[in-house]
Symmetry: C2
Subunit: 151 residues, 2 copies
Amino acid sequence: MNAPETLAAVDELDTSFLESLMGYNARRATLVIVDAFLKGMAVHDLRPVDFSVLSVIAHNSGVTSRQLCSALNIQPPNLVGMLNTLEKRGLIHRVPHPRDGRAMSLHLTTQGVTLIKAAEKSAAELEAAITSSLSAGERKTLMALLKKIYA
Amino acid sequence: MNAPETLAAVDELDTSFLESLMGYNARRATLVIVDAFLKGMAVHDLRPVDFSVLSVIAHNSGVTSRQLCSALNIQPPNLVGMLNTLEKRGLIHRVPHPRDGRAMSLHLTTQGVTLIKAAEKSAAELEAAITSSLSAGERKTLMALLKKIYA
DNA sequence: TATTGTTATACTCTATAACTATA
DNA sequence: TATAGTTATAGAGTATAACAATA
């Protein structure tokens, strides 16, 4: 019963082993969510990471680049270009840190505040669409279990 | 109460809005899991994607490149190099497809079978470690809810 | 001596266009 | 005409080393 199997073509794929792994399922779910988020944020000309950066600055006016990097797991050299772009778009501005001459404090401009408000509204709507296959209780449970994994 | 806040430095970051989003939590959890998987698979000199490729071939002897690409969301040009590397390592071999002259059937070598058996054993152990903060019931629930998101 | 922001750079991952052999 | 595998290539995303200014 070995030769026929070895020579046979495969019609439908068995991926049951991969599907038994948390990483496989978490990755697939994340890809679906991030893709929906990516498309939904395109109307604001923001990538997910740009949204995260703006949102953290919005809720933490005066935050430093270094703090942002730690919170969002971004390498400092990779943040520079993002901040330059956001600054050129008139969404943020960098000002000297009040107590540390090396650091820069990040703030949203009026335009930035307007944009992040609209973007966070979009995010909330996307959130509902993304988790529409879940009940309110399931959504809450999923969120809690994911936090347990990375906490 | 606006000026002091604008000028103030930030000590602890408020990331509550991001934490309320499924994408943020799913991505963070996935990063933790994939990183653990990456480190655990390094002893077999396999990246997560190599493990997936070998595992699918192991359970679907004769599968074509195109089928692999569809199942694992890999672009065909990006699979070529991976298969070349696995073939050079003596883990797989490509043979002409029995019923389609354009296609190649993928099979594990004896060495490949030995490796994937050890790697799947490692994967199962990693799985336990990764979800050690969860009860058996929670693990099952998390898996089911993730599948609901991407199904 | 250590840290912040920055530049330059490299490496990986992913995506697209185009070719060939075959269906 | 369409598809499988492949090549070449381009673009993101991510990572490290090193520097000037400041702590």
